[in-house]
């Protein structure tokens, strides 16, 4: 379905790289970028991380652009908004409509916010596109994040993909019967879809519990960590 990012995370040149390294690198760069809040540094991070993602991790540039496009669209809108409606100080540009002006302050806000997000997005992309979630969770577990949180997250992650298949089937069935024909009927179909999934999920959770119990589940989900491939 729409979870291309998960697929990419499992199939790129950096999947097998040490996840601790990737996690810490991402977090450190994010914090440094935020702390410096320097326009040149933001551009620098954007370029470096993009090169890492495209050239070293060998991720298709189309997928990378797709990853950037949704947050970018939203970013452009909010930054325009910051530019025109915020701040005080000297007026540097008058639009002439309803007295809306760009001031030095608002210009500063908009530019700095825009560049900061531009710097941070590829960092998130680096982690999200090169590291499978199971590995990140495993890292967090060894870093003393409460065990119960990690377990629930792992079980959730598995369940999400089961649900996606079911939703796909159900939605197709509803569409063939004109379930999304009008506005009101799409509401009803969506309601039926979601409540059916919820009821199914209850059954699923029971089955899951039985499956776990029958394999001697005692609150620990050992994860297989393959040894590093030798070249």
């Amino acid at each position: 379905m729409k979870f291309d990012m998960d697929y990419i995370a499992h199939h790129n040149a950096l999947t097998e790289t040490n996840p601790y390294f990737k996690l810490f690198l991402t977090i450190i760069i994010l914090i440094v970028t935020l702390a410096l809040d320097n326009l040149y540094f933001d551009v620098f991070v954007f370029i470096v991380m993009s090169i890492v993602i495209l050239a070293i991790a060998k991720i298709n540039y189309k997928s990378y652009l797709k990853f950037l496009s949704l947050p970018m669209a939203f970013l452009v809108i909010t930054c325009f908004f910051l530019m025109f409606f915020f701040g005080k100080g000297d007026v540097i540009y008058e639009t002439g409509i309803w007295g809306i002006v760009v001031t030095t302050d608002s210009w500063h806000y908009a530019v700095y916010t825009f560049m900061r997000v531009m710097g941070c997005l590829p960092c998130l992309g680096f982690l999200a596109l090169t590291t499978p979630i199971a590995k990140i969770l495993n890292c967090l577990r060894t870093l003393k994040v409460p065990k119960i949180l990690i377990e629930i997250a792992l079980l959730m992650y598995n369940t999400i993909f089961i649900f996606l298949n079911e939703i796909d089937t159900m939605q197709k069935a509803q569409e063939t019967r004109l379930g999304y024909h009008s506005y009101w009927s799409s509401f009803k179909s969506l309601g039926a879809l979601v409540s059916t999934i919820f009821l199914r999920s209850l059954d699923k959770s029971e089955t899951l519990q039985f499956a776990l119990d029958s394999r001697g589940y005692s609150g620990d989900l050992p994860v297989y960590e393959p040894r590093k491939k030798e070249n």
């Binding site: 729409k2 979870f3 990012m5 998960d6 991402t26 977090i27 994010l30 914090i31 970028t33 935020l34 809040d37 990853f67 947050p71 939203f74 970013l75 908004f81 915020f86 701040g87 302050d105 916010t113 900061r116 997000v117 531009m118 941070c120 997005l121 960092c123 998130l124 982690l127 999200a128 979630i133 990140i136 119960i148 949180l149 377990e151 629930i152 997250a153 079980l155 959730m156 369940t159 999400i160 649900f163 996606l164 939703i167 506005y183 799409s186 509401f187 969506l190 309601g191 979601v194 409540s195 059916t196 999934i197 919820f198 009821l199 209850l202 699923k204 959770s205 029971e206 899951l208 519990q209």
Partner: protein, 221 residues
């Protein structure tokens, strides 16, 4: 839409993280207690979390044509209470950042506060208050979902106004409320209606479960 990666300055990222971690830690403590008493509830919690994630990745048919999705935090709060919902929302937000590029890691604290703490808490208070007042749970769940969704965005507006208080905090707040909260009203009503449809079917098919979770109105139990 959650606050995106890098949008907030470092100071505010840290402040929201500190607040959120305290509440989430309390939620984890609550979950531990539930799981110790009742080991099979772990699978239920996990599956409900997955359900919340799926719900937030579904597109809601919206009048304005803009793309939006239900939060799902109203339903979660009515079923499990606010503390547990905060923990589930935390995991959901991490997955959204890593699987959908929706939200981010540095703004995780702020997003947990708005979607995982304020929204569910309001929804839960509204739901409990209305059912206590002998109003049918179907009506109560509508207001819980509606206000849970809306207040999530009101909280987001407050967070953004704190981070960008220009020219004054009040002016910034009004501006952010206009974009985030007012445009969210029709979507919140949509989520309310959707939740009512879900709730009706749950009441019809699994009344015992709702009763066990203590989620029904006293006169319906």
């Amino acid at each position: 839409m959650h606050i995106m990666e890098g949008y907030l300055p470092l100071t505010w990222c840290i402040i929201w993280f500190v607040i959120s971690i305290a509440v989430v830690a309390f939620g984890i403590y609550q979950i531990k207690k539930i799981v110790d008493e009742n080991p099979e509830s772990k699978a239920l919690l996990a599956v409900s979390g997955a359900f919340m994630f799926i719900l937030s990745s579904l597109k809601l048919p919206s009048v304005t044509g803009s793309c939006s999705h239900p939060c799902g935090n109203g339903l979660g709060a009515a079923l499990f209470g606010p503390a547990v919902t905060a923990v589930l929302a935390t995991i959901v937000l991490i997955f959204q950042a890593l699987l959908l590029a929706h939200g981010g890691l540095t703004t995780l604290g702020a997003n947990i506060f708005s979607m995982g703490i304020v929204g569910p808490l309001v929804a839960w208070l509204v739901y409990k208050g209305l059912t206590k007042a002998n109003i049918s749970s179907t009506i109560a769940i509508f207001f819980a979902a509606f206000l849970g969704d809306l207040l999530t965005y009101v909280a987001t507006s407050f967070q953004l106004a704190f981070a960008f208080p220009a020219p004054t905090f009040g002016a910034a707040l009004t501006a952010f409320l206009t974009i985030f909260a007012v445009t969210q009203v029709p979507l919140a009503i949509g989520e309310g209606i959707l939740t009512v449809i879900i709730w009706d079917r749950l009441k019809a098919y699994k009344p015992k479960l709702l009763d066990k979770l203590g989620a029904l109105a006293p006169n319906e139990a």
